[in-house]
Symmetry: C2
Subunit: 388 residues, 2 copies
Amino acid sequence: MRNFVYQNTTKIIFGKGTEAEVGEYTKKHGSKVLLHYGGGSIKKYGTYDKVVESLNKAGIEFVELGGVKANPRLDLVKEGIEIIEKEDIDFILAVGGGSVIDSAKAIAVGHYYDGDVWDFFEGKEKIKKALPIGTVLTIPAAGSESSSSCVITKMDGQLKRSINTNLIRPRFAIMNPQITYTLPDYQTAAGAADIMAHIMERYFTNVDNVELTDRLCESALKTIITNTPKVLENNEDYNARAEIMWTGSIAHNNLLDTGRIGDWASHGIEHELSGIYDVAHGAGLAVIFPAWMDYVYQHDLERFAQFAVRVWDVDPDFKDLEWTAEQGIKKLKEFFVSIAMPLTLKELDIPADRLEEMAEKAVQNGPQGNFVKLDKEDVLNIYKSVLE
Amino acid sequence: MRNFVYQNTTKIIFGKGTEAEVGEYTKKHGSKVLLHYGGGSIKKYGTYDKVVESLNKAGIEFVELGGVKANPRLDLVKEGIEIIEKEDIDFILAVGGGSVIDSAKAIAVGHYYDGDVWDFFEGKEKIKKALPIGTVLTIPAAGSESSSSCVITKMDGQLKRSINTNLIRPRFAIMNPQITYTLPDYQTAAGAADIMAHIMERYFTNVDNVELTDRLCESALKTIITNTPKVLENNEDYNARAEIMWTGSIAHNNLLDTGRIGDWASHGIEHELSGIYDVAHGAGLAVIFPAWMDYVYQHDLERFAQFAVRVWDVDPDFKDLEWTAEQGIKKLKEFFVSIAMPLTLKELDIPADRLEEMAEKAVQNGPQGNFVKLDKEDVLNIYKSVLE
């Protein structure tokens, strides 16, 4: 186990009806609020009305900025930064999924910086301060509601880049599983794939003696594997929705990587896909993660065998760890198929013509991954292995 | 799953040599410090010197108060409160195990209260404010380093009572597993029993549909079960020490009871033992917890069967859940015996003559337990069942 520092200060307010408390929680942190959200779904299904009612009840003034898209864009972030300045706003309330929260985080750090906020995403500038933010989560997937990370897409150049700092952890995250009843099945499944990917990125490590966090990761994976089919069967299964929602936060709040170093190649490789083709991040990960596994599993058969046995209940063949390891990857692919997630670029309508360019971009700041270092050729091989 | 609010703000600084950073972390929160500790072991093994060196290096003025005993006493707490006032101290640094940290927590809340600090422990007064505290942990057991709870013993009346508030969570917890190398085996084992008890108190719940937290509890238990024998075999097994130390915090930082209601009867029943006989809390729990299980397991055979199968790898007999459940309790007892923990009051040198009085005190604020409500008669039966 490696030395580590861990702190997560986000207050989680979890359960039925909790969105009605958003006004009271917001009041503790701000007086004038940017209400940030995405498209029409929060209005269509009543979440918007409940949030506005709660804000009004608490006497909180707010300015709205909707229109966040999946794979949130730098342009809207800049618009947000301008509004904050013009309207003298001191708190951002993000009502939505990871895209809305990430957009809010980028606005929060951009507010205190005179230059182009994109500088942070290119590593040109260090983040020193951020406006406080809070969130009412509507999609369990990205884990952004209590994470220290944020991913933004710059359309000019089709670049998807991230920042990571404790300064952007939300002050509070309100999580009502009932709000997720109306998610389309595809989004539920892509969310599950995203959550699993967050756990697996941490799981595949070269750090030895990480038993507790290994087991916590396995627990979180099993919970998603059990509950996702239940939710796809019955969209209003409160308990299964609740398990997925809470696991989605645990998966990405940094507890699971205490003392270890995660891999993160699959995320990097996938970001190039969703940067150009605007596919759902979770769906992209369902394609890339098993492909990455096929490409690297020989690097540590024991770890992949453990994954197979403990997560997928594979009976180990101790004389054939390679076979054992392969069964785990196979089970993961079967699971993704069972929840209607893609396993090929073709299913995402991604053609072969820009693979080279994506591989190039994926390694432009150095090789991808910590478990196994991948150069451009490796990334290209992984893309090619799942073309169709 | 029940609605819940969860926040744990303690910063964990974990790993080799981290005690050298205590001065820098302390500096962020206070300018004049009460250095609080127990007996001679921190001086004997060099931790005291390292902490003092780090405080001096950071230019921090401090006043010392040593002498905290296992099952920390109200008298010393009061002495601490007086010193704080007299010396104008603004931060408490607890170097030790749960007893030292709990003593510091009680001083921290007592400082802002004009009346008798014991009022908080009797529920007569609500805690509104506390001095900030930090800790260098030397014994993994109580989980007090990032918990919201604190247990103090009042010798007059031999009462052991607790308080619980987020206000007393330490600002930081420095945890170097190397510091635990010198723990006597008995203390290591009692610590393991205490950690397991914290998890099991949360595990045995009547709340349905708590899959993620069930699995997280099982993970934490398995980690203690694997690593405690390793440490008893080799006191300087860093990795095993690290697993136990980090699990000890996770076990009691409230993550594992998100969405559920724990039982806590065993803790209540044990407190009467250690209140009067001053036994190690973990050793007392090793006696009481299996006895409690024997007394209540019929209440939910499915949960006890799950405990047996998932934690102890018992092969379930689905046609005989009672047998299956019993195997788990049997394995727990065997484990405690294997790490030289007692299973009877006799082994703790506790005679039969005050059982009635202890049972009476255990229920003086109402029945014990949430999983099964236990009245005085039940508590007495549990004591009697493990007399010898």
